[in-house]
Amino acid sequence: MLKIPVNQDDHILGDPKAPVVLVEYGDYECPYCGQAYPIVKRVQKHFGKRMAFVFRNFPLTEIHPNAEMAAQTTEFAAAQGRFWEMHDGLYENQQMLGPPLFIALAQKLELSVEDLNLALTNGTYASRVKSDFMGGVRSGVNGTPTFFINGDRHDGAFGFDDLVVAIEARLQK
């Protein structure tokens, strides 16, 4: 069960009051999350206004050396209203994940590279990432990606059909 309800601090695509809210706990360096990225996009398109999507950070920092900084970079972008563009940019270029990509994406989004470097050096967004992570741990996130559909952990596979079937089941309730 999701212990931290979807709230105003979350990054949400769609209406938080939609009949279905899909929450993903993900890591930008995790290849399985990279696989899930285009699938989630398709699922969002499929359900349209009936579904909202929330992304929360769950970086496994010991096995993924760039994951923490990537997460902080998205939070830096979020503070300027550009979370989803940064999120998409990181997953779409996952094979190049690292500081040069963070800088390139910040430039593309016309965000200050200087401010980004400062935020990363000072760990301005570290506590935000950490609180996402610990909220995930408390909710039983056991790896990445972990999905919750209306607050319940989805333990099945995360292929397009698997997610659509699981979400349809919730819509019918």
Partner: protein
Amino acid sequence: MPLLQPGELAPDFTLHVTPDQQLSLSELRGRPIILAFYPADFSPVCGDQMALYNEVFPEFQKLGAELVGISVDGVWCHDEFAKSRKLHFPLLADYEPKGAVARQYGAYRQKDGFAERALFVIDGKGKIFWSYLSPVAVNPGADGILEALEDLSKLSKS
């Protein structure tokens, strides 16, 4: 044999932790111990149970607990696995006789020849405070362990 339950004494054991070092449960007395049995090193997912516990390890430590992982893999395999995942806690080799400790805890899968995903929180006096058996395909996460450790620390304060 069913999984050992809260209130039972945790059987002591001595297992290799590195090729030339052994660790006994009784040496860790005096603080809560998390025993995490798992089937095998190198499961092919990022959702790897030991990698997750490695990330949550500082939280376990804040609650005063020690963590050890146990599987039937040998020390050399553990060594390689621990290095690849940069683990900060010891892995014990329940290797010879194979699965002997897992059996004592009711956490051995006879037909598969490896340990269950079974979790134990043992109190400072060596008694089992909490245990949990997860379906073998499901990583049990860390929420249950954290709740058990918190309950234990509340109890010891009251």
